[in-house]
């Protein structure tokens, strides 16, 4: 999907979208916030900041201070550092799930749409129909369990989310591809003997990119939010810290009157998710050629 593959007509659509996005002030602000988070995630990943998240303090449940901005937890660990660590975890979960799920959904959706009304389409539709019929959390629990004892165990949560998140992308891409497939120029390309793979690559893929982009932002947010719940249920992040582990800890903290974990984790989570949601909205507006400002 490099630039060369995209015709000049599309190219102008892309640059138009970019211009549209840049004009959306809320969208730009959201993008900056997401960018800052991403930067922090990289710094944490490189071990440059937030490294003292595991150091025990002398006394537990310290209040807010210049040293500990959000106070300390039961183990006297610095909650701010842990919240920062949580950014890294969130990006890791979000990126892995979003990229993989959208890729799988996009590919399967394109295949299903292209082979519309064949057995391949039926099988793919059947597959996501089945996944949709199983309650999400039970499915995740089941996936997590079936991976117990294998090398994939630490990735159980990711795999479970990917296994459920691809279906919505697949459904949308399939619909779009069915529409594109009916278009005249594709029919023409087919008539002159262009192979199906070339058609998918040259015509179908570029026309569904905006869907994939938007879907991956949705999956990113979905993954981050699901992580919190899954960790609370004991199915999520095992090693390290995540906002999910912090919120889980906070359930008993708040009854003792300590709100550091809760405020730290939920503050960081809320800002990231709302920024990402706004960014996704702006992206959707910018990429939708039909949409005029409401």
């Amino acid at each position: 999907m490099s630039e060369e593959n995209i015709s000049t007509g599309r190219d102008s659509l892309w640059s138009k979208s970019r211009r549209k996005l840049m004009r959306d002030r809320a969208g730009v602000a959201a993008m900056i916030v997401v960018g800052v988070y991403g930067l922090i995630a990289i710094l944490v990943y490189l071990g440059l900041i937030g490294e003292n998240w595991s150091t025990l303090g002398e006394e537990g449940f310290g209040g807010m201070s210049s040293e500990h901005w959000f106070g300390t937890n039961i183990n006297g660990q610095d909650i701010f550092s842990r919240a920062i660590q949580g950014i890294k975890t969130a990006f890791e979960v979000g990126l892995v799930v979003a990229v993989t799920a959208t890729a799988i959904g996009g590919i399967l959706g394109a295949i299903a749409g292209y082979f519309h009304r064949t057995i391949i389409d039926e099988v793919i539709m059947w597959l996501y129909g089945c996944i949709d019929a199983i309650p999400f959390y039970l499915f995740v629990a089941a996936v997590a369990f079936s991976l117990k004892g294998t090398e994939l165990q630490p990735w159980g949560m990711h795999i479970a989310m990917i296994a459920t998140f691809w279906s919505s992308t697949c459904r949308i891409v399939r619909g779009e591809v069915i529409k594109i497939r009916g278009l005249e120029y594709i029919q023409a390309a087919k008539a002159v003997g262009v192979g199906p793979l070339t058609i998918v690559r040259r015509h179908v893929m570029p026309n569904t990119t905006h869907i994939l982009l938007v879907q991956s932002t949705i999956a990113f947010v979905g993954a981050i939010k699901s992580e919190v719940i899954l960790t609370f249920l004991g199915l999520g992040v095992v090693d390290g810290v995540s906002w999910g582990t912090m919120l889980s800890e906070s359930t008993s903290d708040v009854l003792r009157g300590h709100f550091g974990n809760f405020l730290g984790a939920s503050g960081f989570l809320f800002v990231l998710v709302i920024a990402f949601n706004m960014f996704a909205d702006a992206l959707q507006d910018a990429l939708d050629p039909k949409k005029v400002s409401s």
Binding site: S54, T55, L56, G60, Q77, G149, D239, E249
Partner: protein
């Protein structure tokens, strides 16, 4: 909904409507805020007890949990029981007439049971009338523990100990065959012949596992026998759900009168509980005992505070500082002291961090040099382990701290031990590591295993923090989590875990029960989760188990305990205290597994009578 009028008012109207609805709802709730049954005079014939977990079944052979044991010991008779008030725990006859007659060689035990004891009336009996309990019922019940169909959780207690019983199981558990070591000599006499001496045998007959069960009931109820228990105890089960069980007086129950002296009353430590009121009362005192199973500590606490919804509960750890003036010993704040009585109940058990000795990274090693280095590593871990901090942060600072595996109060505990001995010494730990040539690069990866609960993870982080202090790289102590205890247990039983945080509750008050945890042949899937296998320890342990209590055995126990401390197959130890709390007009003294059959002593009295 018109565009032209000021839009604000519409939004306001919308919100006002929503507001109104919620207000109405809450007003409805508030004005009718009268608690149900709050105007009712207290029902003085019901004791409402609560537990923080529910039994899955009340089949005696599966009564491994404290919750199940409490139920089975109230519904069924065992041969013996613990005195209500004696601390440390002391046995007294229950269904048995007296303490057993033991042969010289300590292998043959004769138990005589009381005559005229009836099972509770139940439809499984002819005409629904409970028949007399005989020695054969006991024999049947013991066999059932070894019957694979019954899925017993308690057979291990007697495994290999009663002559012919294991063979009987292997030959297909045919109830028509006789067993040499387990016989009813007549309707009221039981004879047990052991393969080797087992001085704790009589203790095991106070456990819920050894409840006397009528065969008719097992056969009549089949799979659902566990939900339809039939016994000869003070209570019978009226109804059961995972949230609540109702026990009502067994009308067929024998005449049993409470006596402070017989129950081992100690006025020095037990005078504040109103136990004197019980003197001379016929047991069970209350017609009905309702047991509420409330897993969530906050639910239980709320319920306790709602008046008489429950009489007895616990103080959630999150709230102890709000409720208690002092924690050790427990003193309530005046606001609560007006309404409640409370005490810290020590656990009869200990908490460990097992180090899997079958893991060559850290445990036994065929290469003596590596073996030595591993020992130093274990010693370093033990030296860095901060039990007092663990107690402060997770157990309100009230836990009993001691080195070794034998908790204070048991025969074999070294009186010279002090809690200070469990304090960490990081310098010493580092020295051990240095001595063993360990450094950040060559230290092995140690997986820490536990269930996925928040508290377990916090304890893990605390442990990792201690290890960081002695220079252990953070990444080398990963957490392996399990969604349930069963799953965790499976991994432990399959020797897949390196560091294992676990607790052990004693089955009877004898140090043998904790020392067997390190006896080599008991290795996983047996109870020896550390898979410690030391020939010297094994030999000494084998010697001790066949000994009758006495100074000689005490000495051996102390030596065994010292081996555990020196070889560090487990980092120990701590014994938790749980704060319990109950209404002022209730006379009840909580106790711990294996002490069951507590409900029959409970009394709810009318406070106004006192004034």
């Amino acid at each position: 909904m018109r565009g032209i009028s000021p839009p604000r008012s519409h939004l306001m109207m919308l919100f006002r409507t929503i507001n109104l609805v919620t207000c109405l709802a809450s007003v409805l709730l508030l004005t009718t805020c009268k608690r149900p049954f709050s105007d009712r005079a207290q029902d003085l014939s019901v004791f409402r007890f609560s537990e923080n977990g529910a039994p899955v079944t009340m089949d005696p052979v599966q009564s491994a949990t404290q919750y199940a044991n409490l139920m089975t010991t109230s519904i069924y008779d065992q041969l013996y029981e613990y005195k209500y008030l004696a601390r440390p725990y002391e046995l007294k006859p229950r269904l048995a007439e007296a303490m057993p007659e033991v042969s010289e060689d300590g292998l043959t035990y004769t138990y005589r049971i009381k005559k005229g004891i009836l099972f509770a009336d139940n439809e499984c009996f002819p005409a629904g009338k409970g028949r007399e309990v005989t020695a054969n019922d006991f024999v049947y019940s013991m066999r059932r523990l070894f019957d694979p169909k019954a899925r017993s959780q308690g057979a291990w207690l007697w495994q290999g100990k009663i002559k012919g019983l294991d063979e009987w199981k292997e030959e297909g558990a045919d109830y028509s065959k006789s067993i040499e070591g387990l016989k009813a000599l007549d309707d009221y006499t039981i004879q047990i012949i052991l393969n080797k001496p087992f001085p704790q045998l009589t203790y095991t007959f106070a456990m819920g596992f050894s409840s006397v069960t009528p065969r008719e009931a097992v056969e009549y109820y089949g799979k659902e026998f566990g939900l339809n228990p039939v016994g000869s105890g003070p209570y019978k089960l009226k109804s059961f759900s995972t949230k609540k069980a109702i026990l009502v007086r067994n009308e067929n129950y024998r005449e049993e009168i409470f006596s402070l002296e017989e129950e081992g009353y100690d006025p020095k430590t037990q005078s504040g509980f109103g136990l004197e009121r019980l003197e001379g009362k016929k047991l069970p005192i209350m017609d009905t005992t309702e047991v509420y199973f409330m897993e969530e500590s906050m639910t239980r606490w709320n319920s306790l505070n709602k008046g008489t919804e429950i009489h007895f509960g616990g103080i959630p750890t999150e709230l102890t500082h709000m409720v208690a003036e002092e924690l050790n010993p427990l003193v309530l704040k005046p606001k609560y002291a007006e309404k409640f009585t409370a005490m810290n109940l020590p656990d009869l058990g200990t908490v460990y961090l097992y180090l899997n000795m079958s893991d060559p990274k850290i445990g036994h090693h065929s290469d003596p040099e590596q073996n030595r280095r591993n020992l130093l590593l274990r010693k370093a871990i033990s030296a860095a382990y901060d039990w007092p901090q663990r107690s402060r942060r997770f157990y309100n600072g009230t836990a009993a701290l001691f080195p070794g595996t034998i908790p204070p109060g048991l025969d074999g505990y070294d009186e010279a031990f002090t809690p200070e001995m469990t304090e960490p010494d990081y310098e010493k730990a580092k020295a051990y590591l240095k001595e063993g040539g360990w450094n950040a690069d060559n230290l092995p990866v140690l997986d820490y295993n536990g269930t996925a609960s928040v508290q377990n993870k916090q304890m893990y982080e605390q442990f990792r923090g201690w290890m960081e202090k002695i220079g252990y790289p953070r990444k080398k102590i990963p957490y392996v989590s399990f969604a349930t205890f069963g799953d965790f247990n499976k991994a432990v039983k399959q020797r897949n875990c390196t560091l294992i945080g676990m607790a052990w509750g004693l089955d009877y008050p004898d140090a043998e029960n904790v020392l067997q945890l390190f006896y080599g042949p008991n290795g996983s899937p047996g109870s020896n989760s550390s898979n410690f296998n030391d020939p010297a320890y094994n030999e000494m342990f084998e010697k001790s188990v066949v000994m009758q209590p006495g100074p000689e055995r005490t000495e051996i126990y102390k030596k065994l305990n010292q081996i555990i401390i020196d070889d560090v197959p487990a980092v120990c130890g701590i014994s938790r205290n749980t704060p319990f709390i109950w209404h002022k007009n209730v006379v009840f003294l909580p106790s711990r597994n294996p002490h069951g059959s507590l409900f029959k002593y409970a009394l709810v009295f009318d406070e106004s009578d006192d004034q």
